[in-house]
């Protein structure tokens, strides 16, 4: 996946345009067709369990949602924008203190109006921290040109 890959640019623009994604330090690491990898660094401000230094589930949800949206935007059918319809998140275990969380999302099915997405969050430890499935809107350009905005 090259830096000048147009999909990479699209995914980066998508994430960079989201104030909340920037606030949480999210960075796009890799992009494929309808597939995106996004990292979120560990940060004290994101702690949900101070006794153990564990990142709050809400921050993991924000990462999953953002990565899912970026995967939709990076699909070959080039939606202009997307919004989350539904998201189900399963929390398998606490994220390891001090470790960045990496989310990987893929569009596994796309219809005219809806994208179906699966996502997994890992932190380098054994097994996933969380998994998610989501449904996202697909907003298509009338002429079918590639867009870069939305959430």
């Amino acid at each position: 996946m090259e830096e000048d890959d147009p999909r990479m640019r699209t995914a980066r623009q998508f994430i960079d345009a989201i104030p909340h994604a920037s606030a949480l330090g999210m960075t796009v690491r890799a992009v494929g067709t309808g597939r995106v990898v996004v990292d979120m660094p560990w940060d004290e401000r994101l702690i949900g369990d101070p006794a153990r230094g564990v990142i709050h589930g809400g921050a993991v949800s924000a990462l999953m949602d953002t990565t899912g949206g970026a995967a939709v935007i990076s699909h070959d059918e080039a939606p202009l924008a997307t919004a989350t319809l539904g998201l189900r998140i399963d929390y398998m275990r606490a994220a390891r203190p001090g470790e960045a969380i990496r989310a990987e999302a893929e569009v596994y099915h796309m219809t005219r109006h809806v994208a179906f997405v699966r996502a997994t969050a890992t932190d380098g430890g054994e097994g996933p921290v969380a998994t998610a499935t989501g449904t996202f809107t697909v907003e298509r350009a009338p002429g079918g040109t590639r867009g870069s905005r939305g959430s």
């Binding site: 994604a21 401000r45 101070p50 589930g57 921050a59 949800s61 919004a83 998201l87 939305g150 959430s151």
Partner: protein, 167 residues
Amino acid sequence: MKRPEPVQVVKERRDRALAALVGGIPYVRTVGIAFERRGDELTALLPFREENVGNPVLPALHGGVTAAFLETAALIGLAWAALWDGVEGGRIDAASLTPDRLPPMPKTIDLTIDYLRVGLPRDAYARARVTRSGRRYASVFVEAWQDNRARPFAQATGHFLMPPPDG
């Protein structure tokens, strides 16, 4: 018949318990979530902030912030219900409660979110209802709205793992 406690004593005890519960979570402060209490009923508040925007064009609240808000409202709502019983039943002394001396929190097992409408760039509110509270597992429903209570912009149900009763 026992004389009712003075209202200030009751309020202070309850507000202290709530402050201890909410005050210890850095992420809750980062997103800016606050809680208001009427008796045992909590309303979660999410004041609008630029850094909570997900779609700068509309602009709209970030779906992830909405998810975090719903989850926090559900989790605090559930922990609060348990803490309320403990404090009001005299098993927990509210005066001794601080953020680092709280009963263990429930843990989120899963959360299913419905995004019903665009979250507008303004304050949001949420209320959670514990629909089942078992010894080990609990189910919570939570609803968030903005201008109009009857038109929620998001709702969620979640399952939570309860801490062991003896801590």
